[in-house]
């Protein structure tokens, strides 16, 4: 537990420096060219270096740093163990790459505000990754919701952009409230918020424990963009810029979401088998649903966003298996996915910048005009589909081994089907965008500027480096993280290239996907229509139509439910309004009219009343009372 100061303020750098410089950038005026970009890249680089040193420094015992924060007991406690250091490394890496990439993205709104948000998101992500106290983690985690909202909002005009922004904000906001309640319950059960102390006596799924776990799961899944809560990502893809898509939905969200899923499922809780099945089921469903939707998309970024959702399914499946190989696969897939998905979104940004459109039916034959982008696309597409030498194959292999080890072969087949369809959709995408005939208006498209090319190349390089037996990432990142998660690995061979039965299945997958693509191409004649034979298949046609109208979208369903619920509540409110306002005043008015009508009687009647009352009083007083 080395808490000497100079190491501890290493922790502060990735959190405070971006936070302060974000406000600095706000002061710089819009007109200065490149000053803002340079500053933000410099800061990102600084944090990246800090994260590397932290990664090296973290030995057996994690680095602790605590600041008094809330009242007498709650400290803002940071704890850097291997997993957090690994995550911090990933976050800073992608922040640097995106700040470089974002220089020449056009439709990112005022660049001043974009970089302000970029830095704030970076500091928030770093904060939530490093913090050990659940409240502090929630503090950083939830503050990202606002930035999501503003990112999408500033990246375009018109009704659809604002609708998407609102949708993102609401889905993330409400799931964060659920997560808050989860954390409160965890705090209530184990009356401490420090993850490290909770992990010593793990929580079990009983009574409040289950509710807490479900709530935390909702938070993690929404951030990761898994099945029920994924619908904001495609909408965001349509309406926001590539830099944002490459940064948040592709990298940061996945990293944080899966990190937190790993923390709660393995570090804080010891889950029982039923929850294991549920997790794996969610993973599998996410894979299938998202990839089916991805297959039929005709917009470049929307297709990629659906793939992002489907890849998350693999990670959840991996971690859901709860056995070391599966978890290792999940974590490894997390970093791989971040790298190739971000690279793919960058290629889409480059294509969009050069050709001005995202619709793949209008694109074609760009390979010769944009060679570097095309090559990067091919490398990334190959790794996402799990082609052998690239990193995707190895992490998927681990996930497959985990699912097989857990005994649920059904999920294994679902995963395999998922990777077939992934390969098919990328073949369709690649073929229609980079190969085939090039429309006239795109004849003179040039290659994307260097600021875009460099990050793409770097990411493609990572895909390759992390491939080929994957012993560097596994030994450097995955094994230490597993140890810090408290998972005992034993002597299973994680890394390494094994040509066993899985490799053969992989080959079969490739063949099926290629034949399906050729059939689709032959049938429709156009590259971008190659998935129509699936799109218009008898049963699928209706489900696709319903999906487009938003029947499965949790946002639309809940909007309808809440509107109905609010209607009832409004009626209750009107009832109470009548109860305390209309009814009493009506009664008083009626009573008062009766009394004043009694009043206007003539003398004789009043005289008679007076004598009557006198008589009654005397009888009441004398007669009855006296005897």
């Amino acid at each position: 537990m080395n808490t000497n100061t100079n190491i501890s303020n290493l922790i502060l750098i990735p959190i405070l420096i971006p936070f302060i410089s974000a406000f600095l950038i706000l002061l710089i005026s819009e007109k200065t060219k490149y000053l803002k970009e340079v500053l933000s890249i410099a800061v990102a680089l600084l944090c990246f270096i800090a994260s590397i040193t932290l990664l090296r420094l973290v030995g057996e015992n994690p680095i602790i740093y605590q600041i008094p924060w809330l009242g007498y007991r709650e400290m803002m406690a940071f704890r850097v163990d291997h997993l957090s250091a690994f995550l911090l490394f990933a976050v800073s890496m992608f922040s640097t790459l995106i700040s470089i990439y974002a220089i020449s993205v056009k439709n990112k709104g005022y660049s001043k505000i974009f970089y302000f948000l970029l830095l704030l998101t970076q500091s928030a992500a770093a904060g939530s990754v490093l913090s050990d106290n659940l409240i502090a983690m929630l503090f950083f985690w939830e503050s990202m919701v606002v930035f999501l909202y503003v990112y999408i909002y500033i990246s375009g005009e018109g009704y659809a952009v604002r609708k998407a922004a609102l949708k993102t904000f609401l889905i993330n906001g409400i799931s964060d409230i659920a997560m808050m309640i989860g954390i409160v319950i965890v705090g209530y059960i184990s009356d401490t918020y420090l993850m490290s102390s909770i992990s010593s006596n793990k929580l079990i799924l009983s009574g409040w424990g289950t509710i807490a776990y479900i709530m935390l799961l909702i938070g993690a899944l929404t951030k990761a963009g898994a099945f029920p809560f994924h619908t904001w990502i495609p909408d965001a893809a349509l309406n926001s810029n590539a830099a944002f898509m490459a940064y948040i939905p592709a990298a940061i969200d996945k990293l944080l979401g899966i990190y937190f899923l790993a923390r709660i499922s393995i570090y804080l809780y010891s889950l029982n088998t039923t929850m294991q099945v549920i997790l794996m089921a969610i993973g599998a469903i996410t894979i299938l649903v998202a990839v089916m939707m991805a297959l039929v998309q005709s917009d470049y970024k929307r297709l990629l966003s659906y793939h992002a959702v489907s890849q998350t399914g693999y990670m959840i499946l991996g971690i859901g298996t709860l056995n070391p190989i599966g978890i290792a696969g999940g974590l490894f897939h997390m970093i791989n996915h971040a790298s190739y998905k971000s690279c793919l979104f960058m290629t889409s940004g480059a294509v969009e910048r050069e050709t001005g459109t995202n619709d793949i039916s209008k694109l074609g034959g760009l390979f010769s005009r944009m060679p570097v982008t095309a090559i990067c696309f091919i490398v990334a597409a190959a790794s996402i589909s799990g082609i052998a030498p690239f990193n995707g194959f190895f992490s998927k292999e681990l996930v497959y081994k985990g699912t097989l080890a857990s005994g649920w072969t059904l999920f294994f087949y679902a995963a395999e089907l998922g990777s077939i369809l992934t390969l098919a959709s990328f073949l369709k995408l690649g073929h229609s965008v980079f190969f085939g005939s090039c429309p006239e208006n795109l004849k003179d498209t040039k290659e994307a500027p260097y600021s875009m090319i460099i990050p793409m190349i770097l990411l493609a390089a990572i895909c390759i480096v992390f491939g080929f037996g994957a012993d560097i990432p596994v030994s450097k990142f995955i094994e230490p993280s597993l140890s810090s998660l408290g998972v005992v690995v034993g002597n299973i061979e994680l890394a390494g290239f094994h040509t066993d039965s899985l490799f053969i299945i992989f080959l079969v997958v490739v063949i099926i996907a290629v034949t399906n693509h050729i059939i689709g191409f032959r049938l429709s004649g156009k590259a971008y229509k190659s998935s129509d034979h699936i799109h218009h298949a008898p049963v699928l046609k209706e489900t696709y139509a319903m999906a487009d109208k938003g029947y499965f979208d949790i946002y639309e369903i809940s909007r309808y439910i809440f509107a109905y619920f609010a209607g009832i509540m409004f009626k209750v409110d009107r009832f109470f309004d009548k109860l305390i306002d209309d009814i009493p005043s009506a009664i008083t008015r009626w009573a008062s009219e009766q009394l004043s009508r009694l009043q206007s009687a003539s003398y004789r009647v009043s005289m008679f009343f007076i004598f009557l009352f006198i008589a009654i009083y005397l009888l009441y007083l004398g007669g009855i009372k006296w005897q």
Binding site: S585, T588, S592, Q599, Y603, S606, I614, Y617, K625
Partner: protein, 466 residues
Amino acid sequence: MAIDLISYSLVPLFAALIIPFIPRKHRRITEIIANITLLSGIINLGYVIIYYLVLNDYTSYTSDAFTTLMLFTIYLVGMAITFFSTYYEVEKDTNFSSYYSLILVSVSAMCSLVMSRDFFTLYIFMEALSVCSFALITSDSKTFSIEAAIKYFFLTFPASVLIIFGISLLMINYGTFDFDTIKFTSMNFLTFVSLSFIILGFLIKAGIVPFHFWTPDVYEGSYSPVSAYMAGIVTKVGGIYAIIKIVMLLSSYGFGSNLSKLLLFTGFLSVFVGAIAATVQKNMKRMLAYSSISQMGYIILAAATFSPIGIIAAVFHLINHATFKTVLFLNSACVEKSTGTTNMDELKGLEHRMPWTSWTSIIALFSTAGLPPLSGFWSKLLIILALWQSGHIFYAVAALIASVFTLAYFTIMQKKVFFGKLPEKFNDIKEAKYQLLIPVVVISLIIIFTGVFFNRVFPYFERILS
């Protein structure tokens, strides 16, 4: 008969007898005489009371606190009315000389009534008072006021019958009228019948609910300052004072439970009927009439507890009610003078044209409803405490709930009369003359000061019982 206080009833009587001898054209002189007599009365009464309020130690205090307090209220209201009416109807010269003399006679009758030590003199002066007020009601000779006067006469004459019958039975039973010598040792049947006759008679005079048929018409119909005078002090001294006196006598002997049940029920009835009936009234004065019925009900409720705190609360509320009811009626008189009508449906948005009237009416209004720092709140609180301590928790809660109705009909009045957009036919109305406003403002100040300096006022009230 407290000899030192007798001058307070003789001087106005004497002044009243002088006034007819002044020739008719010297109207000013009659007004001056009337005002001077009442002013002198107030000054030295005021001096006596305020001296003790400021000094705040009562070791050397000898005279009867209750009577001095009542005298002070009578003179205060009398002064306000005479000063108000000198400037009220300047152009239409009603037969002002007899008007002022009648007021002076009624003031002297009330003073002697308050100072009387036995039932018979009480009865005489009550009769004199009702005769004077009968005449005063008709003083603006509108057909409606004459009809009101006759209604007043017809509906209160059973009271005199009952009271004289009760007194005579008491005479038979105890052989004397004198308050001090009557010993209510045992509650035999005859005392019981006679006392209930007397109390019923005075209830009719006070206009409490089962017998309240004359109050609204009289207050609405009569000449405006006179309705203020009637509501302010006449029905109180004529009706409630005697009941409080009897309650004082009986309480020292510690019985009279069935009498208290009668009074409690009547008080409760009049509080609620008055408050509810007032919410829908069209005419401002009629609404104030109902409000005064309900406030009278509060006084009866307080008196009915037969406990020392109850009596103090009753007297305190009597005096408070005298002050804010006079203010409210004089306000309605000012409104009537400026706009010519007190029908609330025609009136609207007078707030900016008549700021003083509106603000004094708000002070009086909220004191009636029992807004805390004002005097009304303290007296109402004492009433509630008295009721609660004597075990009648239901009546205490009901009394408090009724104050919500009080606030209801007053906010309705404020909404109709003072708020809203001024209709064009009232465009040229001006605030009432400053002379008309002086009595109203002075009494509002009294309301505020009794409220805020309650800690000085209360010890004085504790002297009533000794």
